[in-house]
Symmetry: C2
Subunit: 238 residues, 2 copies
DNA sequence: TAGTGGTCTAGACCACCCG
DNA sequence: GGGTGGTCTAGACCACTAG
């Protein structure tokens, strides 16, 4: 384990178990340097990550304050998979794999997914049930040659768990888009929708590996009244 | 101007005007050190910011690649105000101030806004017109003592511009939430909605200053087919 | 005025990628 | 094996906050 990770996890623990309470100051950087026997740069690397995650706010001339709203801040932002989300929120749900097949990208799919024409991909369609109702419909396209041995069972559990822990694939970043789309035939067929609803929430993502190549396109379609998206955002200075 | 900002702006410019093309490598950190006559830590500080903004992807043992999807990546994420968004997207629009008043937080508002009971706030209701149609309804509550001299005219232009450039207020971070809400009476009265629509998109934000105190609560309500939210997200290693 | 975080330097060793 | 980014050190000066 790297030194800055040690410091990060230790401080994160102290914030989460309230050893340092909300609106209180962390020890100063110089004190942390002594306490962890590290250089100031290393301590600052750990503090930077806590700040990015919205756990602390640094103030010049004063110190690092623990942010009060951490109780509000649950992690749908960043890049979080359904399975992780389910675990962190603690509700019961199940996944049904509707379609699991290999196909080749045609012109129409190429425009939508950003995969090159002719690329071999897995095409996966899954529904997510909460309390027996299908409330989310996920359509995934995943580069075939990255995961040729994928199985129906693996994707029924968690796609990301399989890719990261079984295959050691380095998922790096994504471009996401949220829009409100009209319900289509597939939505109507697969989801338990309110008959008065005309729309679903669509979250479309292009997901890239560490080498900046695209490896996944997803369209996740949610029943409107079951959808919530939260994020912690910092103001960009220009 | 700080040295790392110089380097940041220079590299940002070279990426945006295609001096370094997509999927190509930036000069190595050591080359940048020589070129800018800076230490490696300073160069790395600039590169870190480019990486956070989704302009480059760093790869150990290889270099920093310019990310191809920058054309897709427009800045609704982070903390961006309507006025800035309008400017960056280039469409024509206007703002109408419906309500501009001072009021005191009661129990119900305290729960919703997170302002303490009895806090004095500005209450501002604005509609945003595109092509003559009211498509967004913004309701703002802003801590009164931070901006006691605010005027109706200032908020008709841009609230954030006024607060940051006129008052030098240090807006720092926000907790945001996107949900699909049922249309209420105020929405019906102020927005030009499709008569078949039952929902609006609601973006609720708690906005905090650098000292971690709350100074603004906003509920921004959008006509469903005019709404789009995009973000660049990085996978969090756990 | 003492202490804080922000910026910057010059050096070092490592793991990793690629030819 | 040579070059890359990742981690870490020991120092320095500055701007800012607070008592």
């Amino acid at each position: 384990m790297k030194k800055y990770e040690m410091i990060l996890y230790d401080l994160e623990g102290k914030i989460k178990n309230k050893t340092v309470k909300e609106n209180e100051l962390l020890p100063s950087e110089n004190e942390l340097v002594k306490h962890y026997d590290a250089s100031r740069a290393t301590v600052r690397q750990a503090l930077k990550i806590l700040e990015e995650r919205g756990l602390i706010q640094k103030q010049k001339g004063r110190g690092s304050v623990v942010i009060a709203s951490s109780k509000l801040n649950f992690p749908i932002s960043g890049l979080t998979s359904y399975k992780e989300l389910q675990a962190s929120l603690g509700f019961e749900s199940s996944t049904h794999v509707v379609t699991f097949e290999k196909l080749i990208i045609d012109q129409e799919l190429a425009n939508q997914t950003l995969f090159k024409l002719g690329t071999e991909v897995w095409h996966i369609l899954r529904t997510r049930q909460i309390n027996g109702k299908a409330v989310v419909l996920d359509r995934d396209f995943i580069k075939y040659d990255i995961a040729p041995d994928m199985t129906r069972e693996a994707v029924a559990d968690s796609l990301y768990h399989y890719l990261e822990n079984q295959l050691n694939i380095d998922i790096s970043f994504a471009q996401k888009e949220i829009t409100i789309d009209f319900i289509n035939d597939e939505d109507k067929k697969r989801l338990d929708l309110n008959p008065l609803d005309r729309h679903v929430v669509s979250v479309k993502s292009h997901v890239f590996l560490n080498d900046a190549t695209i490896f996944q396109y997803t369209d996740s379609r949610h029943q409107v009244d079951k959808f919530q998206f939260t994020e912690f955002a910092r103001r960009q200075k220009r």
